[in-house]
């Protein structure tokens, strides 16, 4: 077995992978999209296992495997139902324009060490999701759709350094730019004459395109935690803390038509 000639075969599959890599965006796209449907059950299964494991570890009394499984499923369903109820109880954003989606993957997440910088949701272009749409939970902004396949979408979270958008304080006194940084969410480019204080709520200013893609106004970004204001600088900067713990969410909502 060990002396079997595998090099030619490895080279053949290497070339095949290269062809996939080069042409997966063009004429091999239907095959790449079809593969999404093949791996979807595995992805959902793996996600379900993680959720089950988390729920199981938090359950205090073990009363046999069947009972535990029932509790895990009902806990998961309860959480999803609660998310739906909470979301459709808020008047803004308009519930008619929301698509519920389950989070099936976290990128950059180590429990207790680091927060996720993006998440994968189980809704894709087949469900009408487009890159640039925003994802919300209640009236809080979760992130923006970055990549889309027929069944999955990748969502950049607010602490992702590739995401930036305009925002303002809820009273409209100060406006600036939100972007992700090492400190988390940064509210920058606020001119010195504008007043910001700790605990001020920051919301999106509104950045929608004519086809409804982008950031709608008045979605909550978070609460100002620290302010860095120096008279010698042109702008003041603040660190914003999101009111959401994304790692504990299971269901989010894609905003748009």
């Amino acid at each position: 077995m060990r002396k079997q000639k595998i090099l030619p075969l490895a080279l053949f599959f290497g070339v095949l992978a290269f062809v996939f890599f080069v042409f997966s965006g063009s004429f091999l796209k239907p095959i790449a999209d079809g593969l999404s449907f093949v791996v979807l059950p595995a992805q959902r299964g793996a996600s379900g296992l993680v959720v089950s494991a988390l729920a199981q570890s938090s359950s205090e009394n073990e009363e046999g495997l069947d009972d535990a499984k029932t509790r895990v499923i009902s806990a998961k369903e309860r959480k999803e139902m609660q998310a739906l109820r909470d979301q459709f109880n808020v008047s803004e954003p308009n519930p008619v324009r929301l698509l519920p989606a389950r989070i099936v993957g976290f990128t950059g997440y180590i429990p207790g060490v680091s927060q996720p910088v993006s998440v994968t949701i189980d809704q894709g272009s087949a469900n009408g999701v487009k890159p640039g749409q925003v994802v919300v939970y209640k009236d809080n902004l979760v992130g923006r759709v970055e990549k889309v396949t027929p069944v999955f979408s990748s969502v950049m979270l607010l602490n992702n350094d590739n995401l930036s958008f305009t925002a303002e304080t809820i009273d409209g006194e100060a406006s600036g730019v939100i972007y992700g940084g090492k400190d988390g969410i940064v509210f920058d480019n606020v001119v010195l004459s504008e007043k910001i204080s700790p605990k001020d709520i920051v919301v999106t200013k509104g950045d929608l395109t004519a086809d409804g893609i982008g950031f709608p106004p008045d979605l909550v970004v978070g609460e100002i935690k620290e302010i860095d204001k120096r008279q010698s600088d042109l702008f003041q900067t603040a660190v914003v803390e999101s009111l959401l713990d994304v790692s504990s969410l299971t269901t989010v909502f894609v905003w748009g038509d």
């Binding site: 595998i6 890599f21 790449a32 593969l35 093949v38 993957g105 990128t107 997440y109 180590i110 994968t120």
Partner: protein, 121 residues
């Protein structure tokens, strides 16, 4: 989760040192494709990279002894570093440490299973 790249790299390096055969090449190819689809990356890039690892291990195996802890850890370190530089952008050092941790654990597991005996043939 942040463990997916370290787990994948460590698993492929250690199994490419241990296991050979046509089925293994096909498995690595399919694993890379599935990983790319699941993580919404460009399909084929991870397969290409993983098969590159397998080919390099095969070439090293012709001249050197690969079933050793220094080779496995060193190769995992290099493979994970390059993968994270090319395709990953977050928590570089954490992922690198996790790769070495997984490689160490897998090595111990394979030693326990009796795979790390030098090839006499």
């Amino acid at each position: 989760m942040i463990i997916s790249v370290p787990f994948l790299i460590a698993a492929v390096v250690i199994t490419s040192v241990m296991l050979r055969g046509a089925w293994y090449i096909v498995a690595v190819f399919l694993l890379g494709i599935a990983y790319d689809v699941m993580t919404l990356q460009r399909v084929g890039q991870t397969s290409l990279y993983l098969l590159g690892i397998v080919i390099l291990v095969e070439l090293y195996d012709r001249k050197f002894e690969t079933r050793t802890m220094p080779f496995v850890l060193g190769f995992c370190f290099a493979a994970a570093s390059l993968y994270l530089i090319f395709f990953g952008s977050y928590a570089f050092f954490v992922q690198l440490l996790l790769t070495l941790g997984f490689a160490f654990l897998f090595y111990l597991l394979f030693v326990r299973l009796g795979y790390m005996v030098k090839d006499k043939s």
